[in-house]
Amino acid sequence: MMDNHEPYQGDTTRSPIRLFAIGSLVCAIVSAGILAAYAPRPAPLGPSEGFLIGSAVLLVACVAGLLRRRNFAWNRFFTVAKFVVLMTVVVSAMLEYVFIFDGMRGGALAIMSIVLAITAIDIPILWGFAVARHERVPNRS
């Protein structure tokens, strides 16, 4: 039974899930930004790859943290995330088209494609979590 007598202020705790998701997004943006800063010349791929690996690791940590969360409003999470996934997939597909249209090939295209894929997963998680974390669900533990 939930206590509804006091006004609920939302989930005010600092969450590592949000931290990991934003960290992953930062690394992905930096990884793409390094390649963009060199355009149209070929960029050294090492720094971009480093940030990309960092982004992927943080995304995995974010998903792991989310799956371990107890009493989480998964329905609310998926209500938001499914529409955001649709949006991010459309935007990512459009950017992928622009990269290929511009003649990007090889390692740079692979990095950009993975950056887009990570972003397309990261943003729905971030937005879905931002809404679902404040939802009160009955304690099942």
Binding site: P7, Y8, V26, A37, P40, R76, M94, A130, V131, H134
Partner: protein, 205 residues
Amino acid sequence: MSEFVGKQALEIGDQVIDRVEKAQTGPIVNLWGVGVACLAIVVLIVTIAEDWRWGLAFFHVIGGGVWITIDLFMGLVLGPILARMSIPARMELTRRLMPKLMVIMPPVVIATLTAGFQLARRIDLLSVPYPQHWWLTASYIVVGIMALIAYGVMEPANILVLLELRKPQPNGALIGKAMSKFIYATATIGVLQISTAIIMTKIAS
């Protein structure tokens, strides 16, 4: 007379309930607006595919102008006004404003950035040597920070407010916190937009 007034009041009450129920169960955003946004994206794709210079300039200039204006207006004009409004008035304004921004902003941002990059590539601006190239690098950094604020803070707050307002009993405290985050994020992006305007005019001059 009193019967007539009573009947009218009942009708108005029914209309209000009907509108509230529609607002809570219908789509969050206007579907016509989504259609127009999709059409704009299709025209943008065709413009890029055809390498149509006027179209690229149009999308970049109009999109950039709309983006900067909305951010500055939201953050520096409407934000302080919202902060001084009563909670019900703020909620009413938010309920009507946020869905519109949700439709307008994504295509505006996509059009500005992709058309801008294509335009810079077409007029050979991307291959300018350093130190002039630093202006381009600076613009990428500013866009990166703005994207981070928009995706990490602004839009999650926007969606939280929209969904909370659809509940039978919206949580005022939660909406207030999310709205203040949204307004601060918009104001920060507005200030960053001024730096973008400086960078863009420097590149163009």
